[in-house]
Symmetry: C2
Subunit: 230 residues, 2 copies
DNA sequence: TAGCCAGATTGATCCACGTCAAAGTGCCGT
DNA sequence: ACGGCACTTTGACGTGGATCAATCTGGCTA
């Protein structure tokens, strides 16, 4: 087992980075590395969480499933991010399914040892508390987006959040459907919105998987409800 | 200052009930009791959180405000429930406004002392971690409701959640607008939905403020997408 | 290189819910 | 008992985004 790799992953992960090396080492000894194919389900909604997963390589989606083939992508996670903390720490069934959307490797910190570590390690406890607050904050923001903003605003905000003026190009991880679902849109609507933004000259669709942001500040205006007259 | 009352409130509050009496006492010594008129703002979005509030008497709403006079009620809290934990523990600005919707008294645990206590008291830390997970869980559920279910289903679920077969009658706290906003509906739509459910015989609208659930299991069916043919 | 297939795009149509407007209801103070 | 006022209910109408149904695109296999 690649103990060094695991240790390394832990120190790169915001949730565990603040820990003292000794505590990290203790956790590492219990951890396992897991590999998943694209599309594979990592942990299933309504089942107990096997532990906390830290994404090492690849991309993972957290998706809530509901009757009638409905689904909603709560979160898209890349390397360094953690999933399933909530279910583990709250000791309830997974509120959502975790699925790899490309070939992915994760570190799994099994629930039992983690909870035991938690009972002893105060620093770890504080770290996780912070991480959890950030989760709530993120969810509230997501909620605001979905409830209070229309499609164009949501897409504009997403584009701004995922790019910077140093890195104006965004290439979509996985399918656009996943992104659309994350923004609570259909693929069709996302497509149409991107077209409108392109027509307005705010972005350029380079190809199916890449978009370049042209005017950040104007896009910011759109995100706040001022779509330029056509 | 009513120290006994505060201690009592803490032991009744799920978040602090598990604490040993000594720890509770320490917290109590720093706590203050506050009284608010109906409609008064307790803590404002985007400002630092003064501390954690525990509702003693009355009713409080947690509401997210957005440009364009838009708002969304994230949570309605009664006695024993806590608000603002997230902002305090995550050490960021309040993601939402807290407002009394009737005459209300709260216990305020100021942020500084609470964080200091947190650094020393491991049990407290674990308690809060659990509470936070429950918050996330609640938000994810709320999200599912809003994103994946239609108006009738949401109202049906709300009615079921707020009543029991021993207590089939629900009387609305505050205005119906607040409830409607919580379910991401307008007052008008809520009104229409209640009427339809009444017409179908599933509930009875006793008066403007009270509803009686007649057929729990049928309402459960409605909540899962089977509205009876008219 | 042709052919295939998943996903993306575009257009046409639909519908749940919001918005606006007009009663209706019930509570309060005088 | 009478207004007045805030909230609710109901109706008429508009619309954003979903749905359905063709193409279109681009990567992969043979």
């Amino acid at each position: 087992m690649d103990t060094n790799g695991i240790l390394d992953t832990l120190s790169r992960c915001p949730l565990f980075a603040g820990l003292d090396p000794e505590g990290r080492l203790r956790l590492t000894s219990q951890a396992r590395q897991k590999r998943y194919a694209a599309g594979e389900v990592i942990a299933r909604q309504d089942f107990p969480a096997p532990g906390v997963f830290i994404v090492q390589v690849g991309q993972v989606r957290v998706v809530r499933l509901a009757p009638g083939n409905k689904e909603h992508v709560l979160h898209l996670c890349g390397p360094g991010q953690t999933v399933a903390e909530v279910a583990v720490l709250g000791e309830f069934a997974m509120p959502a399914t975790i699925q790899a959307i490309e070939e992915t490797t994760c570190v799994l910190l099994p629930a039992g040892p983690l909870m035991r570590a938690l009972r002893e390690d105060h620093a770890l406890c504080l770290q996780l508390l912070g991480g959890m607050s950030r989760w709530v904050h993120h969810l509230v923001d997501l909620m605001e987006d979905i409830v209070l903003r229309d499609a164009v605003e949501r897409v504009a905000r997403y584009l701004l959040a995922e790019t910077g003026q140093d890195k104006p190009t965004l290439n979509f991880a996985g399918t656009k459907q996943h992104i659309a679902s994350h923004l609570n849109l259909t693929g069709e609507t996302l497509s149409r919105v991107l077209r409108r933004l392109d027509d307005a000259g705010l972005i350029t669709r380079i190809n199916q998987h890449e978009v370049r942001v042209r005017h950040r500040e104007m896009l910011g205006g759109v995100a706040n409800g001022h779509f330029p007259r056509i």
